[in-house]
Amino acid sequence: MTVVKEIGSRGRTAARAARPAFDGRRARFIALCLLPGVVFVIAFTYYPMIRGGVIAFQRYNLFDLTATPFVGLENFRAVLTDDQFWTALGNTGIWVVASLTGQLVLGFGLALLLRRHFRGRGLYQAWVFFPWAMSGFLIGLLWRWMFNGEFGVVNDLLIKAGLVDEPIGFLSSPGWAMTSIIVANIWYGVTFFAIMIIAALQSVPQELYEAADVDGASRIRQFVHVTLPAIRTTLVLIVLLRVIWILNFPDLIYSMTGGGPAGSTHIATTYLIEQVQNGDYGKAGAVGIFVLGLLLSFSVFYLNATRFEKARD
């Protein structure tokens, strides 16, 4: 122990003493280590994003690139007058709120059940966390097969349980399709919440509960007055991240319904991808900027709202 400490402090003094002489070298080291990453991110993330923003103001169709004039807000007008876009926007709201609520509630529940160690917990977590390692595309396929109208296992189980008489066209009827993709998304996302909340729960000092026990607080009161405040910051953050992430998660919808039937399951991002696939980069850029604006205003609003509450506490 003492040896390590000694070496540590000696090392620190040595480094501090040496710093002025090594300044140039130090700067070079920092620059060299950061350069590869920065170059990649600028070239293949920031540059194309900015170009995408510029294209939003151009007439830019992949199949006719002879002229790409600037057209002002033309693309935005095209988007805003497209009924499909408004459907997609409404769906985005439903998709985000319903998925988030389901994932949060179930994930929180799972985390509470898994909070304390029991025999086989590691193995259990390994199985339960697994969906998270799969792609949204594959999960979409999995559920597309299970929700199949004729040979789907979900229908079979519902009929066996006597809950329905006729197979339901889960993905072929507009009324059911949105519900079905949300169910699949909740199934997928519970894990993420569970992981993050377990980690947060484990960082809550045990003494807080002991003190609450001494005061005779019930489990429910402990949850409300000890657990929730203690992990509040984590919750605020992961909910925000999750909103952003669910909004940017077209993979599952893409493979489950492709936005159909009749556009009834499009969200803003699948709509955007459809524009890209149609070659209309201008319109796609406009949708992109719209989504970005939506996300930014939500984030600002949300962070303000949550900080406001904190101040009131």
């Binding site: 060299l32 590869p36 293949f44 949204g136 559920w143 980690a199 890209v276």
Partner: protein, 278 residues
């Protein structure tokens, strides 16, 4: 002293956990069973929950009548290379961000964090144009470049988190003993962090393995298709041949299943140490 949990509560807990396990595992089981059923049985009502006669015909079909073996190889190459490059970049960048304060450090962190928030789809069209200009369409190298860029922020931020848990004294001691900053980092610090490095690599690998939209946009040739692109082309508007599709799903899940079971603990640790990305 906490009160011991009453028996009834423990049973209730076990039941709930059991049901959730069933809900999680059943879809995986169902696709596996489907992949093993003869075609006639897949499309037979009433459904059979155990395959009446297991067959590997769909796997055979996948590998002998489509070039799935080739797609598998392409996916492996793309994911291994991108994962390795992105991890190396993260090892370097994360170190600097964890150990030095320099002007622009905050701005860089912010710039990296922002990329995790902004949907990449905004850049989809322009990226296609770039790939086209650079002659990188239908090239695995083009895909790898974009994948690396996509993952750099995450790998750097997560590696930074891992470095922060390693005491500075370790490399300072090595430097006092005459190591340069770089050798101290590579020979003393990096070995301590191998689990974190492995987790970063595996995370990168899995992300590339799973990526769909960039791959669909850039790759359209038989020679360079990755698995998601190939599977996407199995989907026609009204029909999916579910036997081979189920087999393809099982095959493409396997590598992530194996890797994930190795690295689960470290990935969870890394994720919860302050890095961001669902």
């Amino acid at each position: 002293m906490r009160h011991p949990t009453p028996l009834i509560a423990r049973i209730a807990k076990a039941v709930v956990l059991g049901v959730w396990l069933l809900i999680t595992v059943f879809p995986l089981y169902w696709i596996l069973v489907t992949s093993l059923k003869p075609t006639a049985e897949i499309f037979a009502v009433p459904l059979r929950y155990l395959p009446g006669s297991a067959t590997l015909e769909h796997y055979r079909e996948l590998f002998s009548f489509s070039s799935f073996g080739g797609y598998l190889r392409n996916s492996l190459i793309v994911s291994l290379v991108s994962g390795a490059v992105v991890t190396a970049i993260g090892v370097l960048g994360g170190y600097v961000l964890a150990r030095f304060h320099f002007p622009g450090r905050g701005a860089l962190m912010l710039a990296y964090l922002v990329t995790q928030m902004i949907p990449l789809f905004i850049a989809l069209g322009p990226l296609y144009l770039m790939m086209s200009d650079l002659g990188l369409l239908n090239q695995m190298s083009g895909l790898m470049l974009v994948y690396v860029a996509m993952l750099v922020p995450f790998s750097t931020i997560i590696m930074r988190g891992f470095y922060e848990r390693v005491p500075v004294a370790l490399e300072e001691a090595a430097m006092v003993d005459g190591c340069s900053r770089l050798t101290a980092m590579l020979r003393v610090v990096v070995p301590v962090m191998l689990p974190g490095i492995a987790a970063t690599f595996i995370f990168g690998f899995v992300q590339c393995w799973n990526e769909l939209f960039l791959a669909i946009a850039f790759i359209d040739s038989e020679e360079t298709k990755t698995i998601p692109v190939a599977m996407n082309s199995f989907i026609t508007q009204y029909d999916i041949d579910w036997g081979p599709m189920a087999a393809a799903t099982v095959v493409s899940i396997l590598p992530t299943l194996v890797l994930f079971s190795f690295a689960r603990r470290y990935i969870v640790e890394g994720l919860t140490s302050g890095a961001v990305k669902g």
